[in-house]
Amino acid sequence: MSRALGPFAAVLGRDLLLAWRGRADVLVTLAFFVVVVCLFPFGVGAEPNQLRAIAPGVLWVAALLSTLLSLHRLFAQDHADGTLEQLLLTPEPTVLWVVAKISAHWIATGLPLVVVAPGLALLFDVEQGALGVLVLSLALGTPILALLGAVGAALTLGLRGGGMLLALLVLPLFVPVLIFGAGAVDAYLSGVGAQAHLLLLGGGLLATLALAPLACAAALRIAVE
């Protein structure tokens, strides 16, 4: 067992170290998230009731776009400098270190979004109780976005114009996550309770955790060929 965890721990540790060393990129993603959220009141108007109504949707769409923006960092650098080839030649199954890479990526970009979101929600005067549901829905939702996004990133690896193509590939897949994520907060605010939405998000996360790395590993293998 410890032998199999070797590559997992090695890749996870290295990627977190790289994220720490390149933390400027992480801050850029966070800054993008904050800026996008703050733009909406200028477009929609500052009327509190209206802002409160659109807050969950705005926060979730901004989180989704921030994830999309940072996906290229998952494999591009390793593909360029040859590390990806070496990783594909490790004896342990590819899925193992792919999950490690995606987890490290989520910790570096997804988690900060979850931490910052409640603060931003206050800009929209979101009710205190809903902040907990917002954080929970983002905590369950952003890993799904990272996993699905990783499949798109692997498929578009090394293509010119890959960024746009990646967005086109994964956005339809993000829609259900967005629906249940933003819907959870709305359901809570309307008193129905976010139980169903959060459970579905949790189920979605487990399913994606099981399937997406397989598709991602296959896509990486053909990208390197």
Binding site: V151, L155, L169, P172, L173, G204, A218, E225
Partner: protein, 258 residues
Amino acid sequence: MMKDMQKPERSKSIFRFAAPQMFYPLAGKLAPWFAGIAAVLAAAGMWLGFFVAPTDAVQGEVYRVIYIHVAAAWMSMFVYLVMAFWSFVGLVMNTRLSFIMSQALAPTGAMFCFVALWTGALWGKPTWGAYWVWDARLTSQLLLLFLYLGFMALTRAIEDPRRADKAGAIIALVGAVNVPIIYFSVKWWNTLHQGASVSLNKAPSMATTMLTGMLVMALAAWAYTIAVTLWRVRSLILERERHTDWVAAELNALEGKI
């Protein structure tokens, strides 16, 4: 000139058509037949839909858009599932013809998807008062169009044919797994649209001639899809197998005509 890689053996099994060289002439022979069938069925469907079927009590004449709208919607969903099937076969059996088949299907599927959206919008304006209504089925249809565009963009963006095939196959399968998820999440999100007027378990709430008209149009669309796909497959095969002898012979034969 390059010797052909593997000698095409004259086995009698159905799988011999899995070889591009054998499938090419077969597609050439079948395609015109399907095109003919499509034309005949379309004419019959239109005649049924416009001249035989009665006026709808509630919507008046505008409901006649249903004949093309429902046929296109069904086809766009069905073609995507067939694409996913060929992608799966291609990945498992590693037969290049399966990948070529799914790539040949995509444009027609996308076309039907757009037709379904377009006719849905034009039909929606008089009945629901707006061109675009975020109703569950129309919205999933829109997302299906994005899946089609994603597949076609990805397969064209990659130069190396082999990687393009496999990458396209993976996104087609990932998309296929997500189609039901998208559909039910959109349905959960918005249940404005009244229940499907034609669903298998419930008796059709329409006159039989209306239903037959619609089914005939659906068959016409199906035959049309096969014809166009077979023609497109032939072009793709010529492109992909251009290094082989039989394509060289084929080109010589075509030298004068084209």
